[in-house]
Amino acid sequence: MIEVKNISKSFEGQMVLQDISTTFEKGKTNLIIGQSGSGKTVLKCCIGLLEPDKGEVVFDGNNFSGLKEKNKKKIRQEMGVLFQGGALFDSYTVEENVMFPLNMFTKMTLEEKHNRVNEVLKHVNIINANNKYPSEISGGMIKRVAIARAIALNPKYLFCDEPNSGLDPKTAELIDQLISQLTESFDMTTVINTHDMNSVLQIGEKVAYIHKGELWWEGDKHNILNTDNTELNDFVFATELTRRVKR
């Protein structure tokens, strides 16, 4: 479980997060939705790419925010992160990308590493692409390889930043399902920053809505459509399609 406690963050005097407190539960897909920037900031504070001005992020009882960089290492190795664009290393093949954390943090033999790479690539349905470079595969495959790299070390926590951005609806749905399945089978605490309402309705076991830098609403995919929260309704039913669905 990840606890976010009273986090505030501002950039050049502009408050982006104000006293956010929430919990991300183990074995569930936890979604952060809201205005552009706010969800990403929460995510970056959780993974340590940003230091909150105030408050703390606690991973299973360990206060991550208060630790020195050297001591954060252990928790970092229990995290898998899927970045918005995949963030695969351009100069490495698919196999080398997935093998990278294994090379850095394990003492596995080459054969063990190969087996592990093939195992996680199979989990994300990537077959016969081990020797391809990121520039030679599609956007959906890049996301799946990035997921494979993120889960290579069996992480306890998986963070995803807009996993569906830039993907066609069908591939986006497959990525959602994949993340949901992996969360369940690996019993991870998954936190997803998204603007995609399809994802919210499909895999949102817990949804946190951030509005004007504050936590405005918390719930799940079942009660988000029936909320009487005006701001959340404006966000959820912002498109003609979702308005029609509601009608």
């Binding site: 993974i47 340590g48 290393f89």
Partner: protein, 246 residues
């Protein structure tokens, strides 16, 4: 004030880069990749430029020392001194700024804007160490090789020009090359080369590492890296020359 901030940032990044690598085997592998990418791929351009410059320097030397009172061997001597003292270490380093420096800045800058550096950081890896240290090491190992290679080809180019133009007999040119040789000139040239190699790799690495924004900023950081490295190389050339040769 901004310059001081940048110098401070540069020192911080380089201190991060010089920490002990997370894993020796990974560092060695990255070093081999960088030796190939930064060093081996520069051989061609260094060879072409060195031969042509050697030729030009020898011809200009012959043109300027066209005096019956000055021995013909001075052409070989002057060409050698110019190539060893200045052309090979400084001009080739300036050319490497354009090739290697811009390559480093744009590669690391692209990794920054595509979140690859963030990916390294969240894995618990020191990105500055992983990305910049092998490049600095590769540059400092390979640049002296390139510079000595350039010296040889430059002197050979001079010999070719004498052979083709007949300005002086090649025997006189070779005798000039072998006259009044002070081994310290080579030491001085190699010290300069190491300092310039460090400047090229570290400044370009820093410029790429601290990029913020998108592709336009990556391009700008690459240009900035080239400009800053060029100025620093000329500046340190003056300082080192003053230190060692006066």
């Amino acid at each position: 004030m901004k310059i001081l901030t940048n110098v401070g940032d540069y020192v911080m990044v380089i201190l991060q880069a010089f920490k002990k690598p997370d894993k020796g085997a990974v560092f060695r592998r990255q070093l081999l990749i960088d030796l190939r990418q930064l060093g081996e791929t520069s051989i061609g351009v260094v060879a072409i430029i060195s031969i042509f410059f050697g030729t030009i320097i020898a011809i200009q030397m012959a043109y300027n020392i066209d005096n019956p009172l000055v021995p013909k061997t001075s052409i070989g001597f002057g060409t050698r001194q110019m190539i060893i003292l200045e052309f090979a270490p400084t001009i080739i380093s300036l050319i490497l700024v354009g090739k290697v420096g811009s390559n480093i800045a744009s590669e690391i800058g692209t990794m920054r804007v595509t979140e690859q550096i963030d990916a390294l950081k969240v894995m618990g890896i020191n990105p500055a160490n992983y990305l910049i240290l092998p490049k600095i090491t590769a540059a400092m190992l390979y640049n002296p090789v390139l510079i000595v290679f350039s010296m040889g080809l430059g002197l050979l180019g001079g010999w070719f020009s004498m052979l083709l133009t007949g300005l002086i007999p090649t025997d006189a040119y070779i005798e000039g090359l072998r006259s009044w040789y002070d081994p310290f000139t080579l030491t001085y040239a190699l010290i300069k080369t190491e300092v310039f190699a460090f400047i090229i790799a570290s400044v370009s690495g820093y410029k790429g590492y601290t990029v913020k924004g998108g592709s336009v900023e990556v391009g700008k950081s690459s240009t900035d890296a080239v400009v800053i490295c060029t100025i620093l190389i000329v500046f340190f050339d003056l300082i080192l020359t003053q230190m060692f040769l006066t």
